[in-house]
Amino acid sequence: MNAQLNDAELNAAPVDDAAQPTAPSAPAKTAPRDAAAIAAMHDAEAADVHGDVSVDELHLTAELTGADASSIASPDVAEYAMRLGDDALILSQRLGWWISRAPELEEDMALGNIALDLLGHARSLLHYAGTASGRSEDDLAYWRDEHEFRCAWLFEQPNGDFAHTIARGLIASIWMQELYTALARSTDASLAAIAAKSVKEVAYHRDHAVQWTLRLAGGTEESRRRLLVALTDTWPYTDELFRDDELHERLGDIAPRPSSLRAGFFRVWNAVLAEAEITEAEYTNRKVGQSSGGGRHGNHSTHLGPLLAEMQVLARRHPGATW
């Protein structure tokens, strides 16, 4: 729908008429398609300025939630959900760039679909995180500054060439599948519901990354060379994903310890690279260790700032804009 209605159009929309009951003896045969009423509804949403951090119950319940629409996250659970939500949001924003630029049309659609799934995960997680502080998912996505984001450095890494995007996607999707599989057993019903939903979709993402890893590794000399460069460049951002900190201590059975995901991750990782006939020596470099990271505490690589500037500029320049 092309929204952006002016006030006159809004006033002209027969909102009240649409809500009037019709006689029980005259049931409509088809679902109504009252364009004016829908437009009015969208416009009413647009009138809610995203910069306003007051709690709007209607808006919060209209967002996607977990098992129970009324559950409110504790501050610790909110912090945890924000970390995972930011991972998904930032990777989604990165992947969206590929649309119309991928090597083939099918990849435009694949990367776009993966980005859309991740955006869905981010919405659920950030909605839940926001319940602790009365902020909406949009408040969290558009009105936090760089140091308030909690994504790990892997997800901020530039798209690079197609091989870099695949290497990043391979690490991310293997990790996410291990994570969400474990988190689906969380004692927090909302996190468990989001994880159980997400893991089914991440399975497609992992399959996509694995297929391309094998294809690039076994393709031409050039495709293999590029994949090895990409794996070497991206591998240093893996270790941050498995670091425990004080938050995980406090969460107990609510969330798996990151370190507990390491074994499962490497089982899959090693199997994929063995199939691709890539040895560890080909993608690790004695001169380059693992990155210190720090994204979980708001310390980011230089890549996040420009990404956020692009992602947030429209919402900040035109608060409440919709289309």
């Binding site: 029980p24 829908i38 939630t65 977990g66 995960h121 468990a192 997400s198």
Partner: protein, 168 residues
Amino acid sequence: MMATTSATELRDRAWRIAAGVLDPEVPVLTIEDLGVLRDVRIEGETTVVTLTPTYSGCPAIDQMRDDVLLSLTAEGFRDVRVDFTLSPAWTTDWMSEAGKAKLEEYGIAPPTHRAGERSGPIPLSLGVKCPRCSSLRTREVSRFGSTACKSHFECLACLEPFDHFKVH
């Protein structure tokens, strides 16, 4: 509402109205066929409808919510609320047989089997039948199709491309 209407009749009427809402992306399927309509209940004066999204990022869910609200208010339900739930996670196993038949007629190959049947040690992919010529000589072009819920196939017999509603 008519005072004589019992709560059960009211709830059933609300379900039938909500169940008539179509999927905006696949407009031959109702949200009931799709398994997106999970629950309808009457809480005092409020009619509460619960939907579940197919895929987490599916943008059609907002349109479905709006259409449920409009359909029910147009039929006299004054106070309507639409809740979303993620649990249990949506699966194509909930798609009705009528829905599968409508999909095929529309030109989209329906899910080939139940999602639970994939869990054996050897991944087995069943042949997807071309909705146009019914040939099983088809090939998956891409696991990602025009929407999140579909993959992209081509028929090697009639050479037509087609969408397949993925088993999920």
